[in-house]
């Protein structure tokens, strides 16, 4: 996907300015996506800022006229998962920190059940959570969400449906409301395995020698 080519480099300062303005106008959405995806208050803004830097660096690959918000969300999502994989390998789980993860702002916790929803959202498997955030909260069409997640439209639909049901079950007390957003073991294992799969050709070769 080539957008503006490197040859435009000397002439595109005005379009750079426009691009920057567009980035700035979408910052509120990046922050919202970052915070609902991660369930964190502090780290979320870092994630949104890293996304801006990444977006700026790869601005030549953005196709003008296409959905910039979706493009940015794709970058943020990739950033989030690659960082989380790194964190899982490095950091021991801190349960005290986990209890403080959901520090949504005052105005939001004013309605008590919003913090419950926030907590329940973090208890969902991440693929259901992200689908629900994009479609249920962010207002993306299934097709757009599918592009951001890089999966089939039908997959998004079923993840949203399952996510809604799971959220209801948690909030209605069918399941205990977890205090942490630690992903279920199965999910963590799957993420790590898929990471290993990608590394396997190199590592496998090294070990055998």
């Amino acid at each position: 996907m080539m957008g503006r080519s490197a040859m435009d480099r000397t002439t595109h300062t005005t379009s750079d300015d426009t691009f920057k303005e567009e980035l700035l106008s979408l910052v509120p959405y990046l922050r919202a996506f970052a915070r609902s995806l991660s369930g964190r208050h502090e780290g979320a803004d870092d994630l949104a800022q890293e996304t801006l830097v990444k977006a700026w660096q790869s601005r030549s690959s953005y196709l003008p006229g296409t959905n910039l918000k979706a493009w940015l969300f794709t970058i943020l999502r990739n950033q989030f998962y690659s960082e989380r994989r790194r964190a899982w390998r490095q950091e021991p789980w801190d349960s005290e920190k986990a209890a403080n993860l959901h520090s949504y702002s005052e105005s939001q916790t004013a309605a008590a059940d919003l913090s419950d929803i926030a907590r329940a959202l973090q208890a969902l498997p991440s693929e259901q959570r992200e689908a629900l955030i994009l479609v249920g909260a962010g207002g993306f069409a299934y097709e757009e969400a599918a592009k951001i997640i890089n999966c089939a439209v039908g997959t998004v639909k079923s993840r949203v449906a399952r996510g809604r049901r799971a959220l209801m079950a948690i909030l209605d007390g069918d399941e205990p409301l977890p205090m942490s957003d630690r992903p279920p073991e199965g999910e963590a294992a799957r993420e790590i395995l898929s990471q290993l799969d990608r590394l396997a050709p190199h590592h496998g070769g090294d070990k055998r020698r």
Partner: protein, 60 residues
């Protein structure tokens, strides 16, 4: 049969209301962040990015 029908309908209606309320809550969570004022760091970052990315950019 008709005796069972009413509670089922109530249950279905409750489930629908509940689903709507949770959906609304999700949107409010998200919109709550969207409507927060953007911290200055973001503006600063975009300014800095501009300078560092275009060092040769000539002042007009």
């Amino acid at each position: 049969m008709s005796k069972d029908k009413a509670p089922i309908t109530d249950k279905a209606r409750y489930a629908r209301l509940r689903r709507e309320a949770i959906g609304q809550g999700l949107r409010r969570l998200y919109d709550g962040v969207v409507h927060e004022p953007v911290p200055d760091e973001f503006m600063d970052l975009l300014k800095k990015i501009d300078e560092s990315a275009d060092p040769e950019r000539s002042p007009s």
